[in-house]
Symmetry: C2
Subunit: 416 residues, 2 copies
């Protein structure tokens, strides 16, 4: 059983927004055993939309469509659906009720464009959208299911979870697809691939391995497909075990957990706390940590010390040290971590200071120079890095590297 | 002149990564006057890849392909290219030199899988990749250009900017495509659409208007296409002026500038400073602000006060106030802003305190309850919000709302 995703909207094709819907939908479909064959983004153009419907329906039995259902005139998905199914729009009273209820609740007057949302193709089954005025629409024709949903992510997600995914599970007898992911830190993809050569050669045909590199990490993904779920789970567990034997401590986490989650779990288990002092990372480490639900249990907070004055006053780094070594230096980053841990009384501290660019670099300290210190009662690591890339990339690399240093410190793993 | 983008890789179709490359490429292509007709994501599958090449080449004269060029065996784009162009791989010595130079510089030993990167289809023109080992490849056949590039974003971007975009400009005589974007804050899409009804009816056929809603903002995008660039620029300037007359102060910025940039420009011009005290937003406001190059000129820093102890010690919020009103309260958020501005001596202060969830909500203060205070010598706003959505959405909405409140405070605009 395979599906296709079609996203409609000029905003994707002129690059004004990134299509995050498709990745989410693909994840959910894979989890219920439906492979996604193709994702297609098309213009708000009648011919292109209907052509995409046609091609998708030739390859897959499920076609999920998002976007182009807004109340404004650039949105033409409904027109395209009518054209494709050779039908007309009819007024659906329950949708109209929903439009009124929703807008009244938000104190927004109902205009003509809102009322138009209640007109839907005659041959569809309406799926109510409790988060917005545009309903989703379910069509079946010649053995193919088409579902048209709004492009607003949380509206689409609500509809998928409440209705579309359960309905697909109910309708079809689906095989098990299981993915297991291991996050490997600090081994380049090509070296990892050499390490895993024998492992790959010995994989059974129903299990595949993929490498997903991102900054200083490579996620290894094992994907298995089978009608026998129990056996598949066992096979994958064994393969994960084998991978752990080969890659060892460079495996930072299992599953789609990121470093902040892994560290958070560890801190919670040990009932320990963390604080951060961020200069060049500018709050990004704090954001990564506080994005994790429940982080207030172990995360005390951060001092984002962009100005030197803050380093002095909040972190007790003496002016003379900043003056002597410069703000981006080993001496300052160590003092930041020490001052932080003293003030916040945390078990662990992370401090960063660097030049994220594009300005501010010098010959001696070019853009990308970043000092990171992770500290605890029991020990510390302080390292200098020369990161490359844009301002945001340098911030991101610094933050992830700092988290990985902390993971190693917490687990008594060495840093080379 | 139109182009298509094809991204190759299972990781997109199982939803493990979000395709950010396509949006970036589409932006750059539009900027040089090449419209993108379709974006297609396909599996690492020979038949599907070549089929996508074929369909794209029937619609467009430029086909840009990313992904599937890594050193690991799940990557098969080169095999698909050979199959499609009915040719074989040959060893390219200059690519081999680049592979050795690059890996030596990074102290990575060259393995067999790295050397395979230097084998390219016989009929291609190699484009060197200075940021990675996989070269890009330029093909021409039956009047269609195909360029295959690595999927790693900064490698692809380097190749696009240094070679592919200039070469397309050189080869074709392209019309001007100009986009003008206005960011509108705090007006729902449907109301905005009613306000702009006459404006839309009076648009000339070569200019189109699109609505791009995201959280509390709607970006209005005017797109014009013409062979007469000067006239097009003038037409669009006039339309932007008309829009400004209608939407007035709810236009937060022009261009693709975000709120943090707009505020930053304003602060820099006035030589004023900003500091933030973040509880529920957990450093995200600091991150948005420090993502802007040059923000160290006006941004002093942040206290991310996740623990109450930090609110007391760093922000001088008295324990009794926290005890009496709770951490998520008007009294505390006002004290946070005041304490912050006193300590940091900044012209402006932003403070947030709320419950981002999913845990921590109560009947009286459910998840999504957020207090925000923006403060300056001359005045302040303090407001309570009830945001909906996931933890990350509540964090994001809170941060953007805080920035918008600051923008209004800085410009003496009212808040309803």
């Amino acid at each position: 059983m395979t599906a296709e995703i079609i996203t409609v909207g000029d905003e994707i094709l002129i690059g004004q927004i990134v299509d995050t819907n498709s990745a989410w939908m693909a994840q959910k479909l894979n989890a219920i055993g439906v492979g996604v064959v193709q994702i297609t983004s098309v213009h708000d153009d009648l011919h292109e939309i209907t052509q995409a419907f046609k091609l998708a329906s030739e390859r897959s039995a499920i076609v999920l469509i998002t976007g182009g259902l807004g109340p404004t005139r650039d949105d033409i998905t409904k027109k395209a659906l009518c054209h494709y199914f050779e039908t007309d729009l009819v007024l659906n009273i329950s949708v109209l009720d929903n439009v009124y209820a929703l807008l009244n609740k938000r104190n927004i007057p109902v205009g003509k464009s809102n009322e138009l949302q209640a007109w839907v193709p005659k041959n569809c089954t309406v799926i109510q959208n409790i988060n917005g005025t545009a309903p989703a629409m379910w069509f079946e024709k010649s053995g193919v299911i088409y579902v048209s949903m709004p492009g607003v992510p949380f509206e689409m997600k609500g509809i998928m979870e409440a209705f579309v995914l359960p309905e697909i599970v109910r309708k079809f007898s689906l095989p098990s697809i299981i993915h297991k992911t291991l996050m490997v830190v600090n081994i380049p993809e090509s070296i990892l691939s050499n390490m895993l050569n024998d492992f790959e050669n010995n994989l059974p045909p129903h299990i595949k391995l993929a490498y997903l590199p991102h900054l200083n990490t490579v996620r290894l993904r094992l994907s298995g497909k089978s009608d026998q779920q129990k056996k598949l789970e066992k096979d994958l567990r064994e393969k994960v075990f084998e991978l752990r034997q080969i890659v060892k401590e460079n495996i930072a986490s299992e599953g789609d957990k990121n470093l902040a989650e892994t560290i958070g779990e560890n801190l919670r288990k040990r009932k320990q706390t963390l604080a951060t002092a961020e200069s060049c990372t500018g709050g990004y480490i704090a954001h990564l940590i506080t994005s994790i639900p429940g982080s207030s249990e172990y995360y005390l907070g951060s001092v984002v010390s962009y100005a030197n004055q803050i380093k002095e006053e909040q972190l007790k780094v003496s002016r003379s040290i900043i003056h002597k070594h410069g703000a981006v230096s080993e001496a300052v980053v160590v003092k930041m971590a020490e001052g932080l841990r003293k003030t916040f009384k945390s078990d662990y501290a992370i401090a960063t200071s660097g030049i994220a660019g594009p300005g501010g670099g010098t010959l001696k300290k070019p853009v990308g120079t970043v000092w990171i210190c992770v500290e605890s009662e029991g020990g510390s690591f302080t390292r200098k890095f020369m990161f490359q890339g844009s301002r945001l990339q340098i911030i991101e690399r610094s933050a992830l590297t700092a988290l990985e240093m902390l993971r190693r410190l917490m687990n008594d793993f060495p840093i080379d």
